[in-house]
Symmetry: C2
Subunit: 334 residues, 2 copies
Amino acid sequence: MIKNITMKDIADKLGVSKVTVSKALNDKEGVSDELKQKIKIVAEDMGYRINTLAKSLKESNSYNIGVIIAEKFTGNNKSFYLSFYKYISRILEEYHYTAILNILNYEDEAQLNLPRIYYERKVDGFIILGQVSKNYIEILKNIDLPIVFLDFYDEHIDIDSVITDNFYGAYEITNYLIRNGHRKIAYVGNLNATSSIQDRFLGYYKSLLEHRIEMNNDYVINDRDKNGKVIELQLPSDMPTAFVCNCDMIAYNLIKKLQENDYRVPEDCSVVGFDNDIYSTISEVKITTVEVNMEEMARTAIKCIIEKMTNPKQRYGRISIKGNVLIKNSVRTI
Amino acid sequence: MIKNITMKDIADKLGVSKVTVSKALNDKEGVSDELKQKIKIVAEDMGYRINTLAKSLKESNSYNIGVIIAEKFTGNNKSFYLSFYKYISRILEEYHYTAILNILNYEDEAQLNLPRIYYERKVDGFIILGQVSKNYIEILKNIDLPIVFLDFYDEHIDIDSVITDNFYGAYEITNYLIRNGHRKIAYVGNLNATSSIQDRFLGYYKSLLEHRIEMNNDYVINDRDKNGKVIELQLPSDMPTAFVCNCDMIAYNLIKKLQENDYRVPEDCSVVGFDNDIYSTISEVKITTVEVNMEEMARTAIKCIIEKMTNPKQRYGRISIKGNVLIKNSVRTI
DNA sequence: CTGAAAGCGCTTACAG
DNA sequence: CTGAAAGCGCTTACAG
């Protein structure tokens, strides 16, 4: 266990008392500007972070405000990450822990600022829910608290992560299409956009291979430009009977595109998605999709982080959690 | 300031030491079962709540886990309440406070269980974001922490609340329709479903009155049944040229309904919504709507609660924050 | 301008 | 089985 730097440590280093350090760091009266300055610099150098717990105890004031949202406002796939958070906070409670949700704003992400809850020692670890920038990951790597990535991973750095089994999910849903008689099946998604999209493609491909269906390059349809921005979809000239989309949002867009071109879904074309988010439910045609097992993912991430707290050397690597194919009504048997 | 009950208080009452109380409450060895039982009962009676800050300080363990979500996952009206939370947590930071998001699950809401963060003294107050049940409000009323309702209010009980100005927003957007030449304007929403829907109706009505447009009872269209479940909309036989919908979701449904009946939006019918949530952006036709001023609402709620912490008697009542009409492309000038 | 003392509410290790 | 003492890391009130 690394010893935490306290005001006492700073005081000892400078040969002053911790009272003086406290005053200096809080910009209170009664310390010469010179000393104040010196103390602040030393605090910075030593990597001092205030322990708000102690401050709060003294002041009988937690400096926390509870924000309560009724579960009904989170249901119905209304928000993928809010639902995820719901499971995280609920499962943390089982361990007598409390979740503190921090929205990392664009600016702090770009400027590589860690959250204030880190500097104030308000937390014992971090769960990073959803992709953050490479540079930010580097910063996170250097802090002395356990960290787990949830719903994404980074190939180059060994932080533990819990992800949905993209490969297997896409494999299963493609198998489902094939069981329903489809053989001309396209994949919608840029193969190099994200690791999820790539892995989903590979699952689709595995299913084709297993069923001796030849891959048709015209059947891999781009859905975004170089910057990741969603583009207008181009339908192939020789139409497939089914489309595996890399996510529900794209499946939703595809269905609109197909309908504009007078193809009915699922009568003329079948379409499947991934995620089971709001886009799979808002169109007339409810989209057959792969539901992410949020609860199991959250539970696993929490198990990791709790374990790492007592045993910081513990490594889990990348853990995939299987999703479930959710059959709705965007697929026709042919 | 009400004095907090501590282990010492329980100990004094029973003529034992606080060590014994600590052991009893934590089910540790070394206290007779009899005494343990007695201590637990007295603790319950006195309304004892552990101070986790002190426990955490002692154990150098905050029992909090930070959950980090990048802002990009909250943008684009993806989730109304997640966006709201973003503002709340950001503004609380300005006051050196931290937000702890608690999703109140169905069960706890029904059984009237307060959040664990209350019992563990982890928070200094609560912001209730979005309507909770009447009975739950009663329970909240009785706790000794400042509370502010955000985005809803309760008519019968005087807790401070900050809401969007439903009345004025609907008034403004109806005026906008009238400025664009419309005179046959319907309102979609049940007048007695919620206070927001009612207030929005009244704003619409005020605009009609001011412009000497007679109310047509056929132009008040129900959108839900007695249980609040959304129903299929019925178009009036004499078609209006414009519809004021009580929210974007209903506006979205209406547009689909109109299109099914071969009315084009906005060429044949204009439609406006309320909220500026995801439903105003997902259809082909982007819906002109009233944008809720979340930031200002959050800021106001926080000002209230911070003020109430130093001055518990302070009352603000109901504060309305004006929204803005957001012009998109679902209205035609006639 | 600087610091010794007390205390916030707990828990742990030890003594009886 | 029970409790006095020490300590977690701060801040406040007071003395010098």
